[in-house]
Structure formats: C-alpha cells, structure tokens
Symmetry: C2
Subunit: 377 residues, 2 copies
C-alpha cells in the first residue's frame, strides 16, 4: 500500500493520522519543528522550502501531499521532475498559492467571482476604488491565511505599506483588489477528487468568521436546498476539474444579498470548514483526502445526521491546553466530540474544535457553543 | 492531561491511537516487539511479564491500561504497591485472567451462569459429565483466547493431555468444566465504567463465532427489545460493579433456547464485539475506554443508525495485507469503513475488520459481508 507523506506538521496533518491508522495506510510527516501537532507521525523535521530536505522526505514515501500550501513552486516542480507523485500537483497548487493567478484562472473558467483587479501602484488602486468603492478589499497575493494579508480599505493610502514591501521584495509584484461584497452569509463547498477524475461532494456548509478566522460551521448550510446547493456544487466541481485538483478542495463562497454565489477563496487540502465531517459524515475529509491522494475509490460523504456543527476553540487560558478542561466539557455534553491539536492556548490561537450532530441545526449550534465556551476562559 | 500507557501492542492498543490523537490525550504503548500493530505509539519494547520492564514503562505514564489480560498478578500488584494507577486494577483483572475465579465470583453475585465445576482429575470430570453430559465444555482456566483452551468433549479421556500438562506445571491446578449450553444465539453486552462508578452501556449485540473466533457482530442484536436487552444490561452492570471494573468490560452471553441469558466469558478491555462502535456509535469503545481510564466523564454510547454490522477479516491471501485490496473493497461499497491492523495475512489470522451502518440490519449485514469477502482470498 502506498505510503503517504505530508509536508507540514500542523493540525491538518495531525488529523490525517487517525484515519491513516484506522485504514492501515502508512503515513509520514515532514514537520517544521519537534513537538508539532503531527509529532506522532513525524518522520523528519526540516525546512519545507529547502529542496534537499523535501527530497530526502519524499524518498521515504510514495505520494506527497500537504498540510499547507506554502511549499515553493520551484521545490514542487523539482520533485515532479524527480518522478515524485505530488498530489495536488504544482500546476493546481499555484492557484491556491497566488490569489492573482486564481482570480485570472477562475475568470477564464467563467466562474462567478467578485469584481477584481491587479494593481501595481497606489494610483491603480485608487482607480479601482473609484469604480468599485467606497470600500474595497485589498489582498497580498501570497502567504495570507486566517485573515492575514487581507484588508478592507476606502483609501489607496491604506495599502502604502504593502506596496512598499512589494517593492522591497524586488519581485515587481502586484496586489489583488476586489469589490467589497455585500454578502448575506459565507458558504463553503468541499469536494474531493481522485487523479482519474472521480469526485465526491459533501453538502454545502455555512461558515461564520470572526476576525478573519473560521469560528463556526453548520452543515448543511441552513436553507440551502435547491439552487444554492446546486450552484455551490457546480462551482466546486468546475474548480476541481478546471484546476485539475487532486485531494480535498475547499471553495469558500459568498452568498450575496441579491442572491448570487461568488467564489471567495480556495484551499487545496482539508480545510477548517470541513472539520464537521470527521464526526458528522460517513467519510470525513481527512480520510477522503488520504483516499484521493493514494488514488483509492472515494468514500461516501453523506452526513450522519440532519445537522452537524463545528465550533473552533480560539484562545483559552494562556498556557493551558484543551484537555485541561475536558472534565467540565465532557460532563456538560456527553455527545460532543472534542478535538485538541496539542497546542498551548494563547489569545486567538486555534487550539482545537468541538463537533456535534443532531436533528435540529439551531439546537445543535446552541449546544455546541455551550461546550466550546467551556474552553474559552 | 493524564498520559495513558497501554501494555500490549496489538490491534486493541492500535485502535486506541485514533481517539487518543483526536482527543489530544498522550498515549504510549509497551509492545512485545518492534513492528507490532500499535507501533506508531510504541514507546518501549519489552516483556510485559518482567516487572522491571513494566515498571520502567509505567514511570513514563500517568495511568496504565491494557491491550490484553496476560500481565501477571504479581507484576500488577507490584505496580499498585509502587503507587501506579492501574485500570482496571488487579483485583478486577484476576477474574478475567482465571475462569475458575470468574465462575466462583459470578456465582457469589448471583448472576446466571451455566452449570460448572472445578475438576482436578479425570474422575471428577467423568462425574460432571455423568450429571450434565453427554456433552460438556472443558476449559483451561488461564491463557485461553479465540477458542484456544476450550474443548467440547463427551468423555473425560479427551482432556487427559490437559490434566497431564497441569500436573507438569506443578501448580496443582484444576480445569473448569461447564454444561454444554444449547444456545439459540450468542450476545455481548459492552459497558464502560469510570473509577467513581459512572457507567455507560452500548446496546446489546449479537455475535457469531466461527471456529471459536468472533466473525460477525450485529448491533443492536435483532429482536432484543425488552427483556433480553434489559437482562443483558442488568448482568453487565452487576458484573462491572461487583468486580469493580474500570474501563470497557465485555460480557459475552448465551441466549438459550429456553429463553435464559447466561454469562459465558468476560473481557476487561475493548473487545471484538464492540468494534462496530468505532463507526456506529457517537462514542466508540476505544474512545470510551480512554475516557474511563483517565477518569473523564463518559461519552454518549448511542448508535448513529438503526443498524450497525462488523465483519472480521480472517486470513486472506498469505503475505498480503488488507490495503492491497482496498481498490476493490472501496469501489464495491463507498460507505463501508475499512480497518486494517497492519498485519500480514495467514490462514485464520484476524487482520482487520469492516463496519457498515444503515437502516436495515439484514441488508447491512449482506452488504458488509460482500465487502469483507473481497479480502477473503
């Protein structure tokens, strides 16, 4: 059986360990440091930007996949040239790594996106604001996550520091600017795709962000029967196929007040918006990602109950970890599933999550929030 | 958070790894050998019969529990004298280790058991046969598992070799003999119990043995509503409390043709009859065992669907392992959950299992059997 190698030792790699052990698929991890969340499966510690380190890791596995999207294209392409099986491959990953490339490609595919522009100067940014403002969203094309590298502005000068650092980098780069979308809510559509094209879709979910960080997910998204779920599914399939994604793909979407569904962001790996599926679907996203990257038939993504909720644990008492409060949380609700990433809490840090399933989304949401609140402080 | 140490590196220890990682509970394993099924969490390799080895392992964890029941009483009692937290403790475990002690104790508790006797000679055995024969079941009190150490006989001479080896061992021991129970089916009732007494019960299940090995489990046992499930639950609670068990307890039961429910065997650890709960209950037996032994509030044992089935994979093509056939199995049924113990197949060897849930037990059973058959040969 193929040995899976995960580059990155964070919580996403950690959460691949359980299904790998259950399926009996060997798994190794290239972690940035000792004691990373995925330490149990860590087989090498080193820098994922260093080709020789990544090569040494790749030599120990049969297929390389990812906990994050930060492995440089040059490293990825060198691996492919070596004959390493990389899933998703660099041609797909580039669109998750560079938001300008992503916007261009989605436009070519005719997919609905916010109005956007590539701006290389405060003047170009000001011109975009005058057309699409007063508010716009400016983004660094690379390296952003959890709200970092994203800023809502009204004046071009508010991005001066980013233009300055782009100039310093000497990469002649540009910023991405987008219209500020008046959304009624945010959705996410997760799919998994095998190398040969087989696709499996979980139901579209509603996500709630706090300070740019995913805070809550309800699956399926309330009142998403019919057009909304069909549109979300069609978009995600078009992205997965159009970008030749293998593994799990998360498409973050805006549902606008005027009823449109627009693509916001992409992630080509298991994603926070899919954590509910660990306990709420026949096949969770971490198992499905493993199946896809080793090219096994995909599992059934059907939900196990009418409603599933995931609440992130963000922060909590500094220096503690989630299990320190399991006594109270488990006593409060014996049905809640508690997930800790083995990280010490600090303000705003994502240290784990709680999932819960049931018949009624509102009730499940309230109950899950009560459990998550135990960890808050 | 308490660090759990599991003595024994087999598949039961292996299957504790996934919930330990998900909960974020540190786990270590004392395995008999390198490359055991629980290798990923193995922190020490050594002989569980050697006190110094077990002491060294126990020093690295906060609570000691078990993959099997074979750790000698002398070792267990020395650990307890050292102040090590051992769950279940030696006072409970002795009844899972010695079937004569178990029969005596269950009798004291007034629990329904087959007619039985302690026989120290062929003459005493012959006397039991004349009272309860023609067929009786003779068992070695210690060391039996998966049908080993159990023999159905009609003549005392058929146990001569066991009497001889008892004499050779010089332990002056006896054999256990029991009436041959005309059962209509075999059931199992799993419970978990915390040190303080909190108990959680999964539904009673039907088990089907082949050649003394658990082959299939249907949860809940068909037509077990009412008296059967109430009796099974009451027996298991009485055993858990009467023997002061902590962790998961499996009580194997006979349902007789005349409607009685009798205790057959006990296991004080996660048990093959509970594997369905990994994918078929809100809280699976491996997570529940961890919760119980670290003294956390127990999880909800409710089933996720009206029917759940577990089929063991026994044997398969020699030298292969289950994942070699995942392509066919996963294509046949995307809803089946595939569990491999990372063991190479040989005739009759338990190398993994398949679970499936659904609305109709007969349909689920047929579908699960079809998937398991892919691994058969």
């Amino acid at each position: 059986m193929k040995r899976v190698g995960v580059i990155g030792g964070g919580q996403l790699a950690r959460m691949m360990i359980a299904p790998a052990v259950e399926l009996g698929l060997p798994i190794g991890v290239l972690a940035e440091a000792e004691g990373a969340p995925a330490a149990l499966a860590t087989t090498l510690v080193g820098d994922y930007r260093d080709l020789e380190t990544v090569r040494a890791f790749a030599a120990t596995v049969d297929v390389v996949t990812f906990d994050h999207e930060h492995v440089p294209q040059a490293v990825l392409r060198a691996l492919v040239a070596d004959g390493v099986v990389v899933r998703p491959g660099p041609d797909a990953l580039q669109y998750a790594q560079d938001k300008l490339l992503m916007r261009e490609r989605l436009g070519e595919l005719g997919l609905p996106v916010p109005a956007w522009g590539r701006v290389a100067s405060p003047e170009e940014l000001a011109a975009f604001i005058s057309r699409h403002g007063p508010r716009v969203v400016v983004k660094t094309p690379r390296g952003g996550y959890d709200g970092k590298g994203v800023r809502v502005i009204e004046h071009a000068a508010e991005a001066d520091d980013w233009f300055a650092s782009l100039a310093e980098d000497g990469n002649g780069g540009s910023l991405l600017v987008e219209e500020f979308v008046e959304f009624s809510r945010e959705l996410a559509q997760l799919v998994a795709r095998r190398p040969g094209g087989e696709i499996a879709l979980w139901p579209v979910v509603e996500t709630v962000q706090k300070d740019g960080v995913c805070a809550e997910v309800v699956a399926p998204a309330p009142a998403s029967d019919g057009p909304v779920s069909e549109t979300a599914a069609a978009i995600a399939v078009a992205v997965a196929e159009g970008l030749d994604v293998t593994g799990v793909l998360a498409v973050e979407l805006f549902e606008t007040v005027d009823g449109r569904v627009l693509v916001n962001e992409l992630a080509m790996r298991p994603h926070n918006s899919g954590h509910w599926s660990q306990d709420g679907a026949v096949t969770g996203q971490f198992e499905q990602h493993l199946r896809a990257v080793v090219d096994l038939p995909l599992g059934d993504p059907s939900p196990l109950a009418p409603a599933a909720v995931m609440i992130n644990v963000l922060g909590g008492p500094e220096g503690q970890s989630m299990p320190d409060r399991y006594d109270r949380a488990a006593a409060l609700n014996p049905s809640a599933k508690l997930h800790s990433y083995d990280k010490l809490s600090r303000p705003g840090r994502k240290v784990g999550h709680v999932t819960l399933i049931g018949d009624d989304a509102e009730r499940v949401l309230a109950d899950a929030r009560a459990v998550a609140a135990v960890f808050a402080d």
